[in-house]
């Protein structure tokens, strides 16, 4: 039965225009062909070029957002003379460290539009990139444990629906039907009173998102340069002119910073002080078990979020550590707290074992919404402040940031997410509004 997956229908109607000619196409037939010669003829998914002295655009940060930006700059705006500079290996920051949840059930109109655009791009991304990112629309459930949780949840579901995004409220009985292993006992410390469910939401293979975008961008001629750390910004008057890196000076009239926890560090090199705080955020996985958890569960009061990867591991995360840090590790007691919450929601997981635990650095803005913006320096653009929720935004973030860089003006999607809003006060406050506290 498993092999059914290998017998794919003939790929009719595949628009090859979206793939650049240089890209070797992936399909079951390509796999079959290559199996005959021991897979020795596969091309590199992306090249490893030396940096040129000058580009039209430099993207600093080779995570999902940066690579998506480069991809959409090339594909949507025809700008292909681009370098993506990554100080380590692409996708090695928060792209490869998150719990892979994708949803668009945000309260505020501005956020809902941005995350919904992302979700819609995710829905066709495997096909567009010809790289299976395994977007599994298994549904995301946000639990409510108190009267005020329920009130907030209803407010959100009403708003989300009026924004044209799917969302529904589940009773405790419906939750139990969908997810029999969850503890819905009214005797529990914080009994589950209800949940919202976004069926189109789900999880994806996070590394594949970075790799797929890298391959796509590379096929359009984008240079992805790894192990290249930016050490300084070059300015002339009010304009940006290039960067100093560990691989020398590289010039470009437009530079986009997409560096998550280190965005504020890079912006400071250009003399801009960003209102971002960097914190460790931890995540972990259990040992692999046979499928038992069909969707994604997020709870704020019993603070943990849980899904099961295709490999069978339970993927777990929750809130940030309470102190600032740039090290990609966190405190032990935070792990203990999350697993207590896990056992409360899923008592049968108590006997499973934790296999791996790690941390990432998240950049949190004052209103817990991103900054996707021009800056006072001409040609210098910022894409950061995604906090704990950046993975789900990867395509939309890259898509609108590409627009902002190419046109030197924000798209209406990211127009609200300016740097100016911290001066004007037009905040998009997701602290209070998000299902999980940022």
């Amino acid at each position: 039965m498993y092999l059914c997956g290998l017998l794919e229908p003939v790929p009719c109607g595949l628009s090859d225009t979206m793939l650049s000619k240089s890209m070797q196409k992936y399909s079951i037939y390509a796999l079959l062909r290559n199996a005959l010669n021991f897979h020795e003829n596969w091309h590199r998914a992306w090249r490893s070029p030396a940096p040129k002295p000058e580009y039209d655009v430099i993207i600093v940060g080779g995570g999902g957002h940066g690579l998506a930006t480069a991809y959409y700059l090339a594909k949507e705006h025809g700008i292909t003379n681009i370098a993506v500079l990554e100080k380590g290996w692409i996708g090695g920051g928060n792209t490869g460290r998150n719990t892979t949840i994708i949803r668009s059930n945000y309260l505020w109109d501005e956020s809902a539009a941005m995350y919904e655009k992302s979700l819609q791009l995710f829905e066709g991304l495997s096909q567009e990139l010809n790289f299976n990112i395994m977007f599994s629309q298994r549904g995301v459930m946000n639990l409510a444990h108190s009267l005020s949780d329920m009130r907030e949840l209803k407010r959100r579901v009403n708003a989300i629906r009026l924004n044209g995004i799917d969302s529904e409220i589940l009773t405790t009985i419906q939750i139990k039907e969908l997810l029999p292993i969850i503890n819905t006992s009214p005797q529990s410390r914080y009994p589950i009173l209800g949940a919202s469910l976004q069926k189109r939401a789900g999880i994806a293979r996070h590394d594949a998102v970075a790799w797929g975008y890298a391959r796509g961008a590379d096929s359009h001629g984008v240079d992805i340069i790894q192990n290249c750390e930016v050490t300084g910004m070059l300015r002339k008057g009010g304009c940006i002119t290039g960067v100093e890196t560990t691989k020398g000076i590289i010039q470009a009239p437009k530079i986009g910073i997409v560096a998550a926890g280190h965005t504020s560090v890079l912006a400071a090199m250009a003399g801009i002080r960003l209102p971002l705080n960097s914190y460790p955020l931890q995540a972990m996985v259990s040992e692999p078990i046979k499928p038992i958890h069909p969707c994604v569960v997020m709870s704020n009061a019993v603070h943990v979020y849980v899904s099961q990867s295709d490999k069978g591991e339970m993927v777990l995360g929750a809130g940030i550590d309470g102190y600032h840090s740039y090290t990609q590790r966190g405190s032990f007691h935070v792990v203990e707290g999350q697993l207590g919450a896990l056992c409360e929601l899923f008592p049968i997981f108590s006997r499973l074992r934790l296999v791996r635990q790690w941390g990432g650095i998240v950049d949190i803005s004052p209103d817990a919404s991103p900054i996707l913006s021009k800056t006072p320096i001409k040609g210098f653009y910022i894409n950061g402040g995604w906090g704990t929720g950046g993975f789900k935004a990867t395509p939309g973030s890259g898509w609108s940031f590409a627009h902002t860089i190419a046109r030197d003006e924000p798209h209406e999607l990211n127009a609200p997410f300016t740097l100016d809003r911290f001066v004007s006060g037009a905040l998009i406050d997701e602290h209070g509004a998000a299902a999980v506290a940022h």
Binding site: Y2, C4, G5, E8, P9, S27, L31, F38, H39, W42, R44, A45, W89, I90, G96, D109, G124, Q127, F131, N132, M134, S146, S148, K154, N158, R161, L162, R189, Y190, E287, P288, I289, K290, P291, I292, Q308, D310, G312, F332, V335, L339, L342, C343, E344, P347, I348, S350, L352, R353, L354, V355, Q357, W358, R421, S424, G425, A426, L427, D429, G432
Partner: protein
């Protein structure tokens, strides 16, 4: 040799105690001291399970935590445990184990058909297919998920419980092998407080697997003596069956101790417990883990680590096979050959990658009559379900190919050794750096960032005599570094050093045809990752070791690649043409070192203890009164008190009317109370509240709004001046801790010069609030030293006096619009005063009321609830509360109130809503639109924050935040729901007693 594979003598097993167990339904037996793996080997069971991806038959490969293959489902029912390494299960009577990831049995597995398609499904194949049609991923995923996943989770809650311990010590020593033991002896003899931790059930480490001589006596006798000495030292604690699994900042080490009599239960004790140890010094004597040679089909049942084969013979008295071929690149494996020979097991040959091995051990092997095939390699393994023989060929000069004709040797076990990897996991957790030793092909700990030492095999010291010496030296040194000044001059124990020749590093053992064309060289058997997978990853540009790991899943199984990672790295380096795997770098080691039970990490913080329940002093009265509870933060608060068969709505009606018409009584003890004292208390209040506090007279109260820096309302409450330098601040129930933290953060970081102290007194006081027209009459009965007239005790003031014989602070603060007394008495008198009031109040119709009634009554008056009428986006003017904002002084958030967005006139503002039908209650959280006709996305102009049925008005009421709402009074708005849309009229948000006449009774 007896029937089966048990040797006639030897081992640490108790042959008098026979233990029966069941494997895949088949009855078997072993001895006390066996592991499940040794008992299965003794019974001749070769295939334990099937592999993760290709479903290849797999057997026992190792002897400890590094085992990648022999995973079982242990026990059935609520205590079942998936994915347990048979090598780590101490055998007990009645044990039940089953194979995982195979159906119907490990011998005949339906999914092994996947093995036929292996060429179609190399590393990362799933990224290249399953994409069409776009909607079909869900379908593919279903099958992929069911094919993956190994064992099964229990289906019932965990019957066992877990504990936590906290400990401090001078020196924590991880690993009780020869280096760790001598370190412990060295440190304790110096007088240090020592904790010695080892994952095995007894001390000794790898020595338990050997027969060596220490101080002229068998190593086991030396171990006993060492144990006795440490056991008799008061300041030494030995924790066996305890794994140090994580090394965190500031020498904080997490341990997991297994306490139950068997793997699966606690037997009344906590099954496991987590130790959180803070050590002044840490000694990492974590030993080394053997790595195999990577040759064609090196995953067949019967291919085992050489050290493991020796361990099974020495420790468990089990011969891994009847004819054991040794395949090595180093001298240590010769010890295995010699041990087997001595035990009477046939050793057809030792195949050595090196030419002319000439070390002492090789000479001994020749003397023992073992044939040595030098400069040779195993090029083929015969027998897909268990080794039956091998082909051996000569290596060419460079070692990347084979020459000559193959020679076939029959054997049933291949004991392979590719050297030993120091166990540097904990060193790496702590942030320590590693360095690659090119000669030996191993990663060694280098720079440390914490106060620790690596010693013994963990530090690349493999000879027993050197380990004993180094351990003693480091133990003493660690004690000195921990501040222990006394010296001990005791010498390290000695052992004869056996000189060993260098090993030959050959990361891939070549075969006659190109690698992986006909056979597979496995690197990570747990995740079925082969050499060609790594080569493919590198070819496709996944050239960083982190990319290769993620692309191929190398080292990501529960064993975390303990036997395969170094080879994986070396193979990648080879493909990339960097000779030095050190340059490629390791992937980051992540805690935990070995998997840790989630329930143990949760400890006691589960079930009712998941979060402390906070109870007011009158909690039990409410309980007896049969109230419904509401969770407010950690507090339990009475929600309402249903009488007879009343439902919640009826109860709230009754309670509301009682307060409006007679008198109600509320337990408001959960309100946050912060005692603020000091000459600069007024300055602090002025900074954190929006209004001004200088003018507040003693014994008077004032309402204040607290903003965050962005100008948004963060908390509110009434603060009373008790004396010139002394205030009592009240906060919302849910925010009390955050407000105190907020004050402390500002005081400690920005205003350390202010002379003021803040102390939480929330739990020191019971707050009993009586309100309603009869409140004053009732209170009169209980006090003779407080004048309750409006003139001498006006609203928003406080009087101290005696209530029901108890010293009390009585506040005239009203949240209901009625005359109201908040009676604060010391918490221990709360119940006394409460019951006295209840008893005396009967004649007035006193009615206890809960949070829901409180909310209805305050909503009738248009009073806000922070967190309900506010959501972090609301500034004072939005709520029409600019009266509480001083224009003269500065305060936190003031600057933000003059931002352009704060000045906009179309901000959401607090309004009241009335429905046409008085019984229609608008849904809280309902969104509000200006138009009735809807298309998505629909512009929303606001939402409903509070909505109730007002019994006294006979009409539903609602509060809402609506854009420019104050200009919309009298207009109609719409509340679209899933099935209908409700019309409502915008009005002023005060519904009842608009002039506030009831406040004074």
């Amino acid at each position: 040799m007896s029937a089966g594979y048990r040797l006639q003598k030897g081992g640490l097993i108790d042959r008098k105690t026979r233990l029966n167990f069941t494997f895949n339904g088949q009855a078997m037996s072993g001895y006390e001291g066996d592991t499940l793996a040794s008992a299965l080997l003794a019974s001749g069971t070769r295939i334990i399970g099937r592999s993760f991806k290709y479903h290849r038959p797999r057997g026992i490969f190792a002897t400890g935590v590094e085992e990648p293959n022999a995973l079982v489902q242990l026990e059935r029912g609520p205590r079942t445990l998936p994915n347990q390494q048979a090598t780590r299960i101490s055998l007990y009577d009645g044990l039940i184990a089953d194979s995982i990831n195979c159906w119907p049995s490990p011998d005949y597995d339906a999914m092994s058909i996947l093995g036929l398609f292996y060429r179609l499904i190399p590393a990362g194949f799933y990224y290249k297919t399953f994409m069409r049609p776009a909607t079909a991923w869900r379908f593919y995923e279903y099958f992929i998920r069911h094919a993956a996943g190994l064992g099964c989770a229990p289906t019932e809650p965990d019957p066992d419980h877990y504990d936590k311990m906290n400990a401090h010590c001078d020196v924590l020593i991880v690993g009780a092998g020869p280096a760790g033991l001598t370190a412990a002896l060295g440190a304790t003899r110096s007088g240090a407080r020592v904790i010695l931790v080892d994952e095995q059930d007894q001390i000794g480490g790898w020595l338990l697997n050997e027969n060596r001589i220490i101080n002229g006596q068998p190593s086991k006798e030396w171990l006993n003596a060492a144990f006795l000495e440490l056991n008799d030292t008061a300041d030494a604690q030995i924790l066996t069956k305890t794994t140090a699994f994580g090394y965190f900042d500031h020498n904080f080490i997490a341990l997991c101790e297994h306490r139950g009599p068997t793997q699966v239960n606690g037997n009344g004790l906590s099954r496991q417990r987590i130790w959180r140890v803070r050590a002044k010094q840490v000694v990492l004597a974590t030993g080394a883990i053997e790595r195999p040679l990577v040759f064609a089909d090196n995953d067949r049942p019967g291919v085992m680590l050489s050290g493991a084969v020796r361990a099974y013979a020495h420790r468990y008295g089990v011969a891994a096979g009847r004819r054991v071929l040794i395949f090595t690149n180093n001298d240590d494996a010769y010890r295995t050959g010699l041990a087997l020979k001595e035990a009477g097991v046939a050793v057809p040959a030792i195949v050595d990658l090196r030419h002319d091995p000439s070390g002492e051990l090789a000479v001994a092997a020749v003397r023992a009559g073992i044939e040595i095939l030098d400069g040779s390699a195993v090029t083929r393994v015969l027998g897909s379900r268990g080794v039956t023989g091998v082909d051996i060929m000569n290596l060419n000069n460079t070692g990347d190919g084979v020459i000559g004709a193959p020679r076939r040797i029959s054997c049933d076990v291949i004991a392979t050794s590719g050297g030993w990897n120091p166990t540097i996991h904990l060193h790496s957790h702590s942030g320590g750096k590693t360095i690659f030793d090119k000669r030996r092909g191993i990663f060694l700990p280098s720079k440390t960032t914490e106060a620790n030492f690596s010693v013994g095999a963990a530090n690349g010291t493999f000879s027993l005599s050197d380990c004993l010496k180094a351990g003693m030296k480091i133990g003493k040194q660690a004690a000195r570094n921990a501040g222990i000044s006394s010296h001990n001059r005791r010498k390290a124990p000695v052992s004869i050093k056996e000189e060993e020749a260098d090993s030959r590093l050959l990361w891939i053992v070549p075969t006659a045809c190109p690698t992986s064309h006909k056979s597979r060289h496995f690197l990570d058997q747990a995740n079925d990752v082969t050499v060609s997978d790594i080569q493919l990853a590198a070819r496709e540009g996944y050239a960083s070791i982190e990319h290769a790991k993620r692309y191929t899943t190398l080292g990501m199984a529960p064993d975390q690649g303990k036997t395969g990672n170094t080879h994986g790295l070396a193979v990648l380096s080879q493909v990339l043409g960097t000779e030095d795997p050190g340059e490629t770098g390791t992937t980051t080691f992540r805690p935990p070192y070995t998997p840790v039970t989630i329930g143990a990490l949760a400890g006691r913080d589960v079930g009712p203890l998941m979060d402390p329940i906070r109870m007011t002093p009158m909690h039990h009265w409410h309980e007896l009164a049969g109230c419904a509870w509401e969770d407010v933060g950690q507090w339990k608060r009475p929600w309402y008190y249903p009488q007879n068969s009343e439902d919640g709505l009826k109860a709230v009606h009754r309670e509301c009317l009682a307060v409006r018409n007679a008198v109600g009584i509320l337990d408001a003890s959960t309100l946050g109370k912060i005692d603020i004292r000091g000459p600069d208390a007024v300055i602090l209040l002025n900074k954190v509240y929006t209004n001004s506090w200088e003018s507040l007279k003693i014994n008077r109260c004032r309402y204040g709004l607290m903003l965050s820096e962005d100008g948004m309302i963060f908390d509110d409450g009434v603060t009373t001046r008790l004396a010139k330098d002394h205030f009592l601040m009240t906060t919302t129930s849910g925010n009390a801790a955050q407000v105190l933290e907020w004050l402390e953060e500002w005081l400690q970081t920005e205003w350390p010069d202010l002379r003021v102290y803040c102390t939480s007194v929330t739990e020191q006081w019971a707050n009993i609030t009586i309100c309603g027209p009869s409140a004053r009459a009732l209170l009169l009965e209980f006090t003779d030293d407080i004048d309750l007239t409006n003139e001498s005790f006006p609203s928003m003031s406080m009087r101290e006096g005696t209530i029901a014989g108890v010293n009390a602070r009585v506040f005239r603060i009203s949240y209901t619009g009625e005359i109201s007394y908040e009676i604060n008495v010391p918490a221990s008198y709360g119940m006394h005063v409460w019951t006295a009031l209840i008893n005396a109040g009967k004649k007035y119709g006193i009615t206890p009321f809960g949070t829901e009634t409180m909310h209805v009554l305050r909503a009738e008056k248009g009073y806000i609830v922070v967190g309900q009428e506010t959501d972090g986006t609301v500034i004072p003017s939005d709520l029409g509360m600019n009266w509480a904002v001083s224009e003269k002084k500065d305060f936190i958030g003031k600057r933000s109130l003059s931002r352009t967005n704060s000045m906009r006139t179309d901000r959401k503002q607090l309004v009241g809503l009335l429905t046409e039908n008085p019984t229609t209650i608008l849904p809280e959280g309902g969104q509000i639109t200006a138009k009735q006709t809807l298309s998505t996305p629909t512009p929303m102009i606001g939402y409903i924050t509070s909505s109730y049925y007002s019994a006294v008005l006979g009409h539903s009421i609602a509060l809402a935040l609506i854009k420019g709402g104050r200009e919309l009074h009298g207009d109609c708005v719409f509340v679209p729901l899933e099935d209908k849309s409700i019309v409502a009229t915008v009005i002023n948000p005060i519904f009842y007693d608009i002039k506030g006449e009831r406040l004074n009774g």
